[in-house]
């Protein structure tokens, strides 16, 4: 009976020099080591060391911000995997999608995950914003973080929109054609902006490549940066807004 085998294995792992060199702290059993666990870790240090118990309640946030971020993580992982089988070229892009569907192991599953998570992220990012608004989360000292949030919302839309073209099917092509035609309605510069966005006068190979680079490199980088700022500012602006009606003891 491997009683506590996992614990013991973990124990001996923690005793190794390698583990210690990486984590540089003992087991997170005291508040000190727990604090170290947060601010000694690049990823966790965007979070405060302590949070209000009330803000952990599901009804306080519905974890909308977290879920949005986690969707971003899911999208990054599945997106990078999909990139291994994707060529941003006409009409190879479409054939790659077919191959993902028909011959690549779990290819269709990954694509479904990516697509679904992308739609869901647009939903949760809006929902998150509305929720924050109704809770008054934008009020000082959170003004700037609200603005960062609005920019992140726009980034999410752009990410989703640029990804929409990549399958190069009828749905993608015409959605992008319709969408970019709206840009040309801009007075004076509209046509120019569309020309720049598409790299031409119509949705073609240049547009596909541009959207691909934006979708896979530029926008994710900016988003990662702003997400970091967003988390950071939650902590620096004094944690989540807690309201009386959140209940608790």
């Amino acid at each position: 009976m491997p009683t506590g085998a996992a614990d013991r294995a973990l124990e001996s792992l923690r005793a190794t020099r390698v583990w210690k060199s990486v984590f540089r702290r003992g087991p997170a059993l005291t508040n000190r080591t727990r604090s170290l666990a947060v601010f000694g870790n690049l990823f966790l240090h965007f979070l405060p060391v302590k949070v209000r118990e009330k803000s952990l309640r599901v009804r306080a946030t519905y974890y909308l911000g977290s879920i949005t971020f986690l969707l971003f993580v899911v999208l990054s992982v599945t997106g990078v995997l999909l990139m291994f089988y994707y060529h941003p070229a006409v009409p190879q892009a479409y054939r790659d999608l077919k191959d993902l569907r028909f011959v690549v192991s779990n290819g269709v599953f990954l694509r479904n995950l990516h697509r679904l998570a992308a739609h869901l992220m647009v939903v949760t990012v809006f929902w998150h914003m509305f929720h924050v608004f109704y809770r008054g989360g934008y009020k000082p000292p959170h003004e700037f973080n609200w603005v960062v949030g609005v920019v992140l919302l726009l980034l999410t839309l752009f990410l989703s929109y640029t990804g929409y073209l990549l399958p190069w099917d009828q749905l993608a092509f015409w959605a992008i054609t319709v969408g970019t035609n709206i840009i040309s309605a801009m007075p004076v510069i509209g046509g120019r902006v569309r020309y720049l966005a598409l790299g031409g006068n119509q949705v073609g190979e240049n547009a596909l490549l541009r959207f691909y680079v934006l979708h896979c490199v530029v926008l994710p980088l900016v988003a990662v940066l702003l997400i970091a700022v967003h988390f950071w500012r939650v902590q620096k602006d004094g944690g989540l807004t807690v309201k009386e009606e959140d209940g608790g003891k």
Binding site: R32, K50, E53, S66, N112, P140, P187, Q202
Partner: protein, 236 residues
């Protein structure tokens, strides 16, 4: 707060073991500390664990849906073959619905730009920060104001025959006017409506219109952007 300068300090006997926030409150401090925000817990493991569970539930959910639903893949893009209707991604269908009523510049550029500016501006206007319930004070003049704004909006929408905007706007307007008649002492959802601020009403109106337009654009528009019931398949 208005009385004497009062300094509250908190400390622990073992700061390393149980760190506590030290707050220094003066009149000029922007951060308002109103009452006790409650107990605090360590992020690690309390928040981290909850996030992990949230992540797992999220992945379980999307994996299950992904197994049942296949991402659409239509035919190879063909610039010579326009589907009817050609639809933008769903989150832009609200805009596309607006384009049906208003000139492209208004619906495609002006309105989205104004929405973004408004969203960015929300935390910088006092009415959104300190604004009390709409019907709390100066009720008559507030009502007059509200009636003027509402009639202007409705007339504008009626001129453009933008009835998919008009309907949700009218519904919110109805609730707004109804909440005027609710007595202050009322509790429940009536009381809730009675105590709403101006910014609440505006945001709720925006969300109602946005959701209606997106739903209509996604499900109720067929060839030629004509109204179509989603359960009636076109073409026999």
């Amino acid at each position: 707060m208005a009385e004497n300068k009062k300094i509250e300090t908190g400390f622990s006997s073992d700061v390393l073991k149980d760190p506590k926030r030290i707050v220094f409150v003066t009149k000029k401090t922007s951060a308002k500390v109103t009452g006790d925000a409650g107990r605090q817990v360590m992020t690690f493991p309390h928040l981290v664990l909850r996030e992990a569970i949230a992540f797992q539930i999220l992945v379980i959910a999307i994996v299950l849906v992904s197994l049942l639903w296949d991402a659409p893949l239509e035919q190879l893009a063909n610039p010579l073959l326009t589907p009817n209707p050609a639809k933008a991604p769903w989150y832009f269908l609200g805009l596309q619905e607006l384009l049906h009523y208003f000139p492209p510049f208004v619906a495609g550029i002006l309105i989205p730009t104004l929405v973004v500016i408004a969203l960015v501006g929300i935390p910088y206007f006092n009415i959104n920060i300190h604004g009390g319930p709409l019907w709390a004070k100066r009720r008559t003049s507030q009502l007059r104001m509200v009636l003027i704004v509402l009639s202007l909006l409705m007339i504008f929408l009626a001129i453009f025959l933008a009835w998919t905007v008009f309907v949700p706007s009218a519904a919110i307007a109805f609730l707004l006017l109804y909440s005027y008649s609710v007595p202050a002492s009322q509790t429940g959802w009536r009381g809730f409506l009675r105590s709403r601020t101006v910014s609440w009403w505006v945001m709720t109106w925006f969300i109602a219109v946005a959701i209606t337009l997106t739903l209509v654009g996604t499900f109720f528009r067929g060839p030629g952007w004509e109204w179509e019931w989603p359960w009636v398949s076109h073409g026999g």
